[in-house]
């Protein structure tokens, strides 16, 4: 037996709790709709589901294959979710951070949501099959550095005890440290190669809960700030703009990296910016709603050592 297998036994109890709560909420009419996860066709896989009837509550599950950040369905696809009444949503810790960020940006109201929190030991990486055992090798990179196994401030948090989790080496922090130690020219070469792979499918944008602009800067052509063709200059500009627009907002759900068909390490840029904003302005994405993000506020004593 592999000693690195992670204990995910609590997910059975979590699934039960989600189902009974969904039944109760939908029967009582406390919520009109619940966004959660259901089993998908491939063995062991899961997909997002929107249910409106308590008869469908048994479809809800939580497994290590429940990788999606459902927060995205409350912004862009909100139009497809029935209006009126509260929305119930199943959230992992990382997803809750995204919801909290959206509340801070006035995209969502807390009183319109019913949060069903998930005590989470981790989900699978996008590179492995959904039926794979959750181990220290197959766990998603974001979960290795997770500090939000227990979402806080939810309306329901299943009463389970988190199993002891091994301290896993952080892949993002290691990679950021490696890149930072390189000379600038080699960093440029690294990113040039990564960005050259981009096919401008904009999956990273579509899946991001924070990319909710009605019209993206990168879709505007008067003036055209970022070339739209999947060529080197436009790709580089797009990824720099994306990282910059998410700086101080990104909740670290790593959905961008998961959906990237070309395997560009997008979350690396987001994590780097998160690290810098922590150092510069002592800001971190968390469970507290902040009306102003670090880049939409200021103090008169901000560092200006780089300004002449």
């Amino acid at each position: 037996m592999n000693i690195h297998v992670l204990d995910k036994s609590i997910y059975t109890a979590v699934t039960e709790a989600i189902r009974s709560e969904a039944t109760r909420l939908l029967t009582a009419g406390d919520v009109t709709v619940i966004v959660g996860y259901a089993a998908a066709r491939r063995k062991g896989s899961a997909q997002p589901i929107v249910i409106t009837s308590s008869a469908d509550a048994d479809k809800l599950i939580f497994t290590p294959a429940c990788v999606n950040n459902l927060a995205v369905y409350l912004t862009k696809a909100k139009k497809e979710i029935p209006k009126g009444g509260k929305i119930g949503i199943v959230v992992k810790g990382c997803d809750l951070k995204a919801l909290v960020g959206l509340m801070g940006e006035s995209q969502l109201k807390r009183e319109e949501l019913y949060l069903i929190g998930v005590p989470c030991v981790g989900v699978l990486a996008s590179t492995v099959q959904p039926a794979t055992e959750l181990t220290a090798e197959t766990i998603a990179s974001k979960c290795r550095e997770c500090d939000a196994h227990l979402p806080s401030g939810c309306d329901l948090l299943p009463n389970v005890v988190l199993p002891p989790m091994p301290q896993l080496e952080g892949k993002y922090s290691a990679e950021i440290a490696r890149l930072e130690a390189l000379p600038p020219a080699e960093r440029w070469a690294f990113w040039k190669e990564q960005f050259a792979k981009c096919i401008k499918c904009y999956a990273c944008r579509q899946v991001c809960p924070f990319c909710f602009c009605e019209q993206c800067l990168c879709d505007r052509n008067k003036p055209q700030m970022v070339d739209t063709t999947p060529r080197p200059a436009g790709n580089t500009a797009w990824h720099i703009v994306r990282a910059m627009h998410l700086a101080g907002r990104c909740a670290g759900c790593a959905e961008c990296e998961r959906v990237c068909p070309m395997d560009i390490p997008l979350n690396l840029l987001n994590r780097k910016m998160a690290k810098e904003l922590k150092e510069l302005f002592d800001y971190e994405a968390g469970f507290e709603v902040n009306e102003k993000g670090p880049l939409s506020t200021y103090t008169e004593k901000d560092d200006q050592s780089f300004i002449k």
Binding site: E186, R187, W188, K192, A233, I240, L269, K272, E300, K308
Partner: protein, 165 residues
């Protein structure tokens, strides 16, 4: 004496300035007949808070060797807090560019008030000389050139196709 003249490298500097302070400061330098390098192209904005980081990217892509962003001193913003917001934004943007591998000495931020014609001359001269010593900025230009056809036509396949016509 058939020596061809070598044109020296003249850096192209783009300056994004705020209209209330630095633009007036540059104007003062001009009306005071102070000399500063003609390498700088001044672009006037309402406020440093209006200067989007994507403008800087665009400048580098379109051939700038150095970029200067300059506005009012903290506390002097015509719009009260535009430069405070800009200060945070550019602090973050610098870190991002550095991580991507851009040499930050090509990107200069400064506060130049309407009375500081001398400081404007100093900032522009310093940046121009620094960039001149560093040579042209090639990274973004190379990317932009790759957007276009490489110009290579003597590939075996093309020759074969040409001969077949």
């Amino acid at each position: 004496m058939n020596q061809t003249t070598q044109h020296g490298f003249e850096p192209k500097i783009i300056a994004f300035v705020c209209t209330w302070c630095t633009y007036a400061g540059a104007d003062l330098a001009g009306t005071s007949r102070m000399q500063y390098p003609a390498n700088v192209r001044v672009l006037k904005f309402p406020c440093t808070g209006r200067i989007d980081p994507v403008f800087i990217l665009k400048a580098f892509q379109q051939g700038a060797d150095g970029v200067l962003v300059s506005g009012c001193h903290p506390g002097d913003c015509h719009y009260i807090a535009g430069n405070f917001h800009a200060r945070r934004r550019f602090a973050a943007f610098r870190k991002l560019l550095e991580f991507i591998g851009v040499d930050l000495s090509r990107l200069q931020f400064s506060w130049v008030s309407a009375a500081e014609g001398g400081k404007w001359v100093e900032v522009v001269t310093d940046l121009t000389e620094k960039v001149r010593a560093m040579g042209p900025m090639v990274e973004f230009k190379e990317l932009a050139l790759e957007e276009q056809w490489s110009g290579v036509i003597d590939t075996p396949e093309l020759k074969e196709a040409y001969n077949a016509i």
